[in-house]
Subunit: 336 residues, 2 copies
Amino acid sequence: MVKRDVTVTEVALRDGSHAIGHSYTIDQVQKVAKALDEANVPYIEVSHGDGLGGSSLQYGRSKTNEMELISAAVSVCKQARVGVLLLPGIGTVEELKEAENLGARLARIATHVTEADVSKQHIQLAKELGMETVGFLMMAHMVPTEKLVEQAKLMECYGADTVYIVDSAGALLPHEVKERVKALKNQLKVNIGFHAHNNLSLAMANTLVAIEEGATWVDGSVRCLGAGAGNTQTEVLVSVLDRMNRSTGIDLYKMMDLAEEIVAPILEKPQEITKGSLILGYAGVYSSFLLHAERAAHKFNVDSRDILVELGKRRVVGGQEDMIVDVASELAKKSI
Amino acid sequence: MVKRDVTVTEVALRDGSHAIGHSYTIDQVQKVAKALDEANVPYIEVSHGDGLGGSSLQYGRSKTNEMELISAAVSVCKQARVGVLLLPGIGTVEELKEAENLGARLARIATHVTEADVSKQHIQLAKELGMETVGFLMMAHMVPTEKLVEQAKLMECYGADTVYIVDSAGALLPHEVKERVKALKNQLKVNIGFHAHNNLSLAMANTLVAIEEGATWVDGSVRCLGAGAGNTQTEVLVSVLDRMNRSTGIDLYKMMDLAEEIVAPILEKPQEITKGSLILGYAGVYSSFLLHAERAAHKFNVDSRDILVELGKRRVVGGQEDMIVDVASELAKKSI
């Protein structure tokens, strides 16, 4: 058994699918997973970017059926465990069973940070199937710490082995991560995890703060391959933790090599912080709001960024897209 | 007079020239400088990547004479002050006088972190010319904090208004930045500055730690345009500081716009953390060592990264390139 201070889950084959239009092929997944396995990465997540069952007109169609991709990853892994993401409402229990049957050993059940209660059935099923189980609280910046603790406790009592704080919009500042991890660490018995996005160039900073405060599970994506500005860059994280004498059990040189030789060629273009990803992190809103806000901005002759910032202040969530036009209209009246 | 908590110097037109093979044109510099000026950026550095006089076979030839680029920037700035970098031994007092005569108002005199004594003449000249003057201590990770303080004090006593800690290799970890800034803040009277590189994905983290510990001058580069993995991304830094209620006096939306519309099209390819820039930050060595190490690695059949890590441990500096072959040879013997 490898001794690790920090357990890294590689998400390039799941979150990264957002960055390449869900176009992973079996060949790509096998090459990446095999190299990650050989570098001793302990967990490799493979799913549509929006989790099992995400392939759709709404979320983007996968080029290859994700069950085939999961099988492909499982077939080449000697030590690594393959994980899947599931958002109740998008993915189903049947899909979770199918993935487990194909060899997935880690289930990450993800909900909006206020909706942990919808994860009960799926967390319990994953445990019954004998899978390691993570509760994944998305858009964690949107609620005060007390609310986050309350929701995390729900996932803990459903049976999750680990509860993750997920900074989906890359909106959390380091002191906000510190407060949240500290509170969870104090009030939960299970492992605490952290998943960063780099919209404010803080993915590495926040991941290190989380580890400092006691998070023992963190996510990385090779070459930052993930939604928005991408995630914490795994090969860099492994280098930094090595410099800080925190062991990940991962072979640093192999990670550097696979990033350059196997993952980089898959990227359509390098991940960087663009105007769009920056404003999402700054405002703390869903990426799906961007296009709606731009359309409303055009219609009402206001700045789309002012709309997004206002939506962030009002903590508007998915499904409330009609609010975008309301906000644009209000801003237009104010500016007269 | 604008009230600022943090004074940002934009370095994309100097450090960024490394990233585009020193190919800036007058038109590009005018467009970028004008937009930065309109966004209320207080200082804009314009020089060859290696400072005044850097255009050479050794450091890379500038496509356009840097004095013409300085004039071009000065001609479009209404409030921003144009700065120049000068490394004694590369640039000369005559070049500094010429730049001042063309309208440069900020002189940044840069030396290796152990060689502050060679900056005396240039710092004194800059002050005599009435320029704001910065002492710039490069490769600051290579010495213990006491040594850094000693060298910074030299620059202070020569008359520098501000002394910068320069993390040239992007090798400093946040706690190392904290210790260094704190010590300088305690033991110097002048302003403390910090210049980051992103080789370990820590440019933003380190810049925030520096500000937290009392640094009031920091560098940024729009779209990360700088040597290695680039610098702290200015438009992102301004966003983050805004979220933290630290004023920079800079117009955030104008910064976002100019990054996307004016600077991004100049990049030959987006800045990212590649295998090469990562190993330089991990080992903490000069970028010029990379090619030498790869050649020696090939000759002695060892891993170039082991050579670089060993060079970092031995704190080998520029001019000692013959050590690279020695280290490779030693490693080859050990591995037999």
